[in-house]
């Protein structure tokens, strides 16, 4: 029997999430004497619903054979990474962009982010692509800066 499938991984992740949040809900102030239900009731109700649904998904995954076609193995993870490394790199670039914003400011961070991201996705194997990357990065970055800073009076970092 296949051990890990997408549904089982989802169900387990949700159950772990429920556990963590339920433990944290212990820090919520209990109801006062004049309150029937306290602040923890609604989130605990939701955590109960999520837990029950996760268990049902897990049970269904074990009982239904079709889910085994969604199995997760090291090979499938490697294959997916090989085919979709650009997605992972794009997430990483965005994280770096968010971290760099307060230090490098909007203009530099944005232009560099756009140049790197477009270059990653489009490739830089021709002069035309390089030119397009630089042009779009500079134009989009500057245009948004002008619109927000001077048009809408919204200060950018």
């Amino acid at each position: 029997m296949t051990l890990i499938t997408k549904d089982r991984a989802l169900a387990v992740a949700m159950l772990i999430l429920c556990g963590i949040f339920y433990a944290e809900s212990g820090n919520i102030r209990p109801p006062t004497t004049w309150q029937t239900y306290g602040s923890a009731m609604f989130p605990r109700l939701l955590l109960g619903v999520i837990a029950v649904l996760s268990i049902l998904i897990l049970i269904r995954s074990v009982l239904e054979k079709r889910d085994e076609t969604q199995k997760l193995t090291w090979l499938s993870a490697y294959q997916w990474t090989k085919n979709n490394y650009k997605v992972l790199l794009l997430f990483t670039l965005f994280g770096i962009y968010a971290a760099a914003l307060p230090f490098a400011g909007y203009l530099i961070s944005t232009i560099v982010f756009l140049a790197c991201a477009i270059g990653l996705l489009l490739g830089l194997d021709s002069r035309r692509k390089s030119l397009l990357t630089i042009t779009v990065s500079l134009t989009a970055g500057l245009a948004i800066y002008v619109v927000f800073q001077f048009g809408l009076n919204i200060w950018l970092p």
């Binding site: 968010a98 996705l121 619109v147």
Partner: protein, 515 residues
């Protein structure tokens, strides 16, 4: 109401607001015509620009995007054979063949005119039924409101294309997200000792993160899968005006029926243009004297699809304004816009903000007129814009999402919220969890908790939810929607088994990433 509408019309007709509507429509058409971009994304991208505007201007430009976006999918559908938005899928069935026959202008013209008529009819539905529903819902007390929200969430979860359990899980997760931070009793919840979490999460970075990242990364993943065997349609487009009017006049009943289907479907939570265009196309074929001609490039199919998907615009405002429950995903974002401008959609909106309600009606009508003019005069340029590569578009949209999230409160934490929920949204999408119930849960969570607690404070018994007739009705409807969805799931699973499991847990991007 008439004097409020006149006042609203005078506000919306001012040059600055007309310009904003035009910009919104243009952006919506461009967004809708780029395959994979969607109306929702267009709304998300434009939304940050509304922060500095007054409510009427902000809502007007958003409505412009809305109206333009629903008609934008027509352009790439006809010219490239690729629907610009999921709500234009059935437009391709007849629009593209008509274009291949050498009549792209006729296909586009029919679609544009049908879109216009659909929007106008849906505004009439909104004007007629919006106030009626709002008046009726004034009788709703906390029990009815909380069970209505529950019904909306179960309905949306049930419409998740065979993924009921995951849909309900997503809805519950969305509700859970809203519990982070201080609650109505000023008790802090789930801050994990981090001061930044004490104020909870702003709705919009959460929604943008969940929706945008998964949509954009899906577009990147699909880059290698593109079917390049699309025959070329000439970009030289001439609109045969007389022929188009004749085509529409010969399909009066089809146009009216499709518009009403779109309005009704739009008014149901969790549906939207995608469902509307399929139902409408199917009905048009059933009622046609020559159903065998559908799919060969006839006006009937284009009219059915475009009239219905544009009619969703007005229809989806009905529950949003009258009940405070968004009719579809773009409406959920529109609600976020209204809330950010200090306006709470709901039954009282018609009493407390009649001018804004009138401005919405007026903006929809003016937006429809602007849409027709833009499409008819600029359609050949829109067709070229549809060719913008995703490799350029995705990073620019990501950047706009980041700046949009930041501009909300000038708070860098919101960008991290966007990023964090972007990762969560992407992982959930990969796990085949529908995102629409999640986003609706985020939008409705605070209201649900408020109403639930108000009900329990007024009467501590949970049984009151069952003894009050309307509340009990909504509970029964919720249960029925779950049962119907279970039956639907069974049918879908049996079909998958008959297909030999060839497409296990096949994820059609349309239910998740509706326009």
């Amino acid at each position: 109401m008439a004097e409020f509408f006149t006042h609203a019309l005078s506000l919306v007709s001012s040059p600055s607001v007309l310009l904003l509507i035009t910009i919104g429509v243009l952006f919506g058409i461009i967004g809708g015509s780029i395959p994979g971009f969607t109306v929702t994304m267009a709304i998300l991208v434009v939304f940050p620009f509304t922060f500095a505007m007054d409510p009427v201007s902000g809502v007007s430009i958003m409505i412009g995007v809305f109206v333009g976006g629903y008609s934008g999918g027509l352009v790439s559908g006809v010219m490239l054979g690729i629907p610009g938005t999921p709500s234009s899928i059935t437009t391709v069935y007849d629009g593209y063949p008509m274009a291949l026959k050498g009549e792209p202008g006729r296909a586009l013209g029919i679609g544009v005119l049908a879109s216009f008529i659909g929007t106008v009819i849906s505004v009439a539905v909104l004007v007629l039924f919006g106030p009626l529903l709002a008046k009726f819902s004034m009788n709703f007390r906390p029990w009815e409101i909380s069970t209505l929200i529950l019904f909306a969430l179960t309905l949306v979860a049930g419409l998740s294309n065979g993924r009921l359990l995951k849909g309900m899980l997503a809805a519950a997760l969305g509700l859970l997200i809203t519990t982070v931070g201080y609650d109505r009793n000023s008790n802090i919840r789930f801050d994990f000792d981090l001061p930044t979490l004490s104020s909870g999460f702003e709705i919009l970075p959460v929604m943008i993160g969940i929706f945008a990242f998964s949509q954009l990364m899906e577009n990147i993943e699909k880059l290698g899968d593109k079917d390049s065997a699309h025959k070329n349609v000439s970009m030289n487009v001439t609109i045969p005006y007389a022929k188009i009017v004749k085509d529409i006049m010969g399909q009066k009943i089809n146009t009216l029926r499709s518009s009403l289907i779109g309005s009704l479907v739009g008014a149901l939570p969790g549906t939207g243009g995608t469902v509307a265009n399929f139902i409408s196309y199917d009905q048009a074929k059933k009622f046609s004297r020559h159903p065998e001609k559908f799919g060969t490039g006839i006006p009937n199919g284009i009219i059915a699809s475009e009239a219905s998907n544009s009619a969703v615009a007005g229809g989806s405002f009905v529950p949003t304004l009258a009940l405070g429950i968004p009719g579809d995903l773009p409406m959920a974002i529109m609600m976020g816009v209204l809330i950010l401008h200090g306006i709470t959609p709901g039954p009282l909106m018609f009493e407390q903000n009649p001018v804004l309600v009138g401005a919405i009606y007026a903006s929809l009508l003016i937006g429809a007129i602007v849409m027709v003019l833009c499409q008819l005069f600029l359609v050949r340029w829109f067709a070229r814009i549809a060719l913008i590569p995703q490799q350029v578009l995705v990073p620019v949209v990501l950047m706009l999402c980041a700046i949009g999230a930041y501009a909300l409160n000038n708070n860098l934490f919101d960008i991290w919220v966007l990023f964090g929920f972007g990762i969560i949204g992407y992982l959930l999408w990969k796990a085949d969890v529908p995102l629409t119930p999640l986003i609706l849960g985020v939008v409705l969570g605070n209201n649900l908790e408020q109403q639930l607690f108000r009900a329990l404070e007024l009467d501590g018994s949970w049984l009151t939810f069952l003894t009050r007739p309307l509340s009990a009705t909504f509970i029964v409807l919720s249960v029925l929607s779950v049962i119907l969805a279970l039956r639907q799931n069974k049918k879908i699973n049996m079909q998958r088994t008959d297909d030999g499991g060839s497409s296990p847990l096949h994820r059609d991007s349309t239910p998740d990433h509706k326009p």
